[in-house]
């Protein structure tokens, strides 16, 4: 994961510059400093192509090169890629419909009334509110974006963004089913996810900069003189097309890792407790399994300690390739890189602290 982040930092470094300019050195939690002081290159708008290239290229290399390049590998890649996409589409639609509805129908004052005025208090409240959105991670990004558009403080919206896919009833129920007879695993997942979400919200209040957020995709809310239904439809459509493209980028990258990394690699790290925690955290990022299924996968990694498996389930819904692509598309790459790197670190710390006491 480290390497991947650094690579990402390097390749996007010059590209990220125009949007964030020179104030970017105060990076949260040792995220690779990537964007300071580099003059604007001539290709700032091509970064999705770069991301796409990074995702597609390994697959293409698989196709062209060597013994692995024969048909079955490519077919498996296509199948995995398509299945991640197909599986994500309903949840993405749910999320974008909800975000369109929030934008068109819910007046901004509702949120200011419901959430505590003090942002530091609003963060845990919003985190706990994540429990009501029964979707996987694709649904929460557009919703969080529309919440910010309606005047919710970004810190609270991010706490919601992180906690919603991890602590909703569906996910907790599947966790209980996947780990029969160990309710402490469910409790640890709930607490560690909530702690990570709140910590990231507070971290944003402390270190976050508004200018990392791309202001381009703004939800304007209802404007007088336009039909609310038309606004809903256009917002829904825009968000879906936009986010859908990025989900596919993420699915391609995840499929590449899914097909290219054989399971036998898993055994290598299971002996060392600390390495295994980091390794499963990295695996969660790369595999991008839906948060409603990751508990079953975690349960199957029997060679690993409960702590490492908890880390897998806490990191997975908050940071993964398809989520990073989606966040980059929604909030901008300057945000996505910093936020994901910091979230990964915080999530590992929270899992180790809470898992260490509970498990």
């Amino acid at each position: 994961m480290r390497q991947a982040e650094e690579r990402a930092g390097e390749s996007y470094g010059s590209v990220a510059a125009p949007a964030v300019d020179d104030e970017a050195s105060a990076d949260a939690d040792g995220a690779p400093a990537d964007a300071d002081g580099v003059p604007a290159g001539g290709w700032p708008r091509h970064w999705p192509l770069l991301l796409l290239g990074a995702a597609v290229l390994p697959g293409t290399v698989l196709f062209v090169v060597g013994r692995w390049g024969d048909e079955p590998a490519v077919q498996a890649w296509r199948t995995v890629c398509l299945s991640i996409t197909v599986q994500a589409l309903p949840f993405l639609l749910l999320g974008t419909a909800l975000s369109g509805a929030i934008n068109a129908f819910v007046p901004a004052r509702v949120f200011t009334r419901v959430l505590p005025r003090n942002p530091s208090l609003a963060v845990p409240v919003a985190g706990a509110a994540g429990a009501v959105l029964p979707g996987c991670e694709c649904a929460s990004v557009p919703v969080a974006n529309s919440l910010i558009g309606r005047g919710v403080t970004p810190a609270a919206a991010f706490a919601f963004l992180l906690s919603a896919p991890a602590i909703n009833p569906v996910v907790l129920a599947t966790t209980a089913i996947a780990f029969p007879g160990s309710p402490e695993m469910v409790l640890a997942r709930l607490l560690a996810s909530l702690a990570t979400a709140s910590a990231m919200g507070w971290l944003w209040l402390w270190l976050g900069r508004e200018k990392w957020l791309r202001p381009a995709v703004r939800h304007t809310g209802h404007r007088p003189g336009r039909s609310r239904w038309t606004e809903f439809r256009l917002g829904f459509q825009h968000d879906f097309l936009h986010a859908g493209g990025f989900v596919i980028v993420g699915a391609m990258a995840a499929a590449t890792f899914n097909v290219a990394v054989p399971d036998s690699v898993l055994g290598v790290f299971s002996d060392s407790p600390w390495l295994s925690v980091l390794f499963l955290a990295a695996l969660a990022v790369l595999l991008s399994v839906c948060s409603e299924a990751d508990a079953f996968l975690a349960a199957s990694l029997t060679g690993f300690s409960p702590l490492a498996r908890l880390t897998f389930m806490v990191v997975g819904p908050m940071v993964d390739l398809k989520l990073i692509a989606l966040q980059a598309g929604t909030f901008g790459r300057a945000f996505a890189i910093r936020f994901s790197a910091a979230t990964a670190v915080v999530a590992v710390l929270c899992s180790v602290l809470i898992g260490g006491t509970l498990l």
Binding site: L52, S83, V86, H238, P262, A293, L297, S300, G329
Partner: protein, 257 residues
């Protein structure tokens, strides 16, 4: 992206999903069967959304106005702040064309021997009590049931019994022997896990062929403990049709002919 193209993209995605989930059962190659209502609903919503977009563009006047704003937006993209509205969609949305066309015209097959051969076997769930085996012979068993009975059933109910199991063929490492295999998924094919039973005493059929094998447990170690090999001495191996839902560990339904 021009707005008529957005409508086309939405309609194609909707039709693709409906084609896969409503008209055919292609979706079973990619996701679990409980996703079907969700996929049909999503397909219908996308189709409606695309139709509504196309309809709104048919009305004169209004569409031109929004189109102009779209052009403006596109220049503003990435610099931010200049009245970006919902109509500006980045080019990355074109990627939605890939799954739609893939579902409609060139759907990739279910995962098979390639994936199974690269995966560790799904661990056996700890089970203490086993129901008595039915008296029929051969006994139809799922691969999972066979695996847990071989390694955990202290009663050794499998001893001397003839069993029948269905799965697909995965060649062994370095071309030695073969496995009867099933891939199981929880949510989508990305989380597939395999169950394998080693087959002895029969030449390997081509990879990915679906077969029903009748045979007895391949003796070794102590039956009912983890020292027992999950393996079968095959008596007959017969080809069967690929089941509609390949990602379950279902019992073999009809006896092979």
């Amino acid at each position: 992206m021009k707005r008529p193209l957005q409508a086309v993209l939405l309609v194609l995605s909707g039709v693709g999903l409906l084609h896969a989930a409503l008209l055919t059962d292609l979706y079973l190659r990619y996701v679990n069967d409980w996703m079907r209502p969700l996929l049909i609903a999503s397909g219908a919503v996308l189709l409606l959304l695309g139709a509504a977009e196309a309809w709104s563009l048919r009305r004169p006047g209004r569409s031109r106005e929004t189109d102009e704003r779209h052009h403006e937006d596109h220049h503003g993209d990435g610099h931010g702040g200049d009245g970006h509205d919902h109509s500006g969609v980045p080019g990355v949305a074109w990627l939605l064309l890939l799954p739609a066309l893939s579902l409609l015209f060139h759907a990739p097959p279910s995962l098979g021997a390639y994936t199974a051969s690269r995966q560790a076997t799904k661990p056996v769930v700890q089970q203490d009590e086993f129901d008595p085996l039915p008296a029929t012979s051969p006994v139809p068993l799922t691969l999972r049931d066979f695996t847990s009975r071989v390694q955990q059933d202290r009663e050794q109910a499998l001893k001397g019994r003839t069993v029948r199991m269905t799965g697909f063929v995965t060649p062994g490492e370095r071309g030695e022997g073969w496995y009867l295999t099933r891939l199981l998924i929880n949510c989508c094919a990305a989380d597939a896990q395999s169950v394998k039973v080693r087959i002895h005493g029969a030449p390997p059929p081509p990879a990915d062929t679906w077969v029903t094998v009748v045979g007895t447990w391949h003796a070794g170690g102590t039956l009912g403990t983890s020292s027992a090999p999950v393996a079968l001495d095959a008596r007959t191996v017969s080809k069967v049709d690929r089941p509609a839902n390949a990602y379950t560990d279902a019992l073999p339904l009809s006896p092979p002919r």
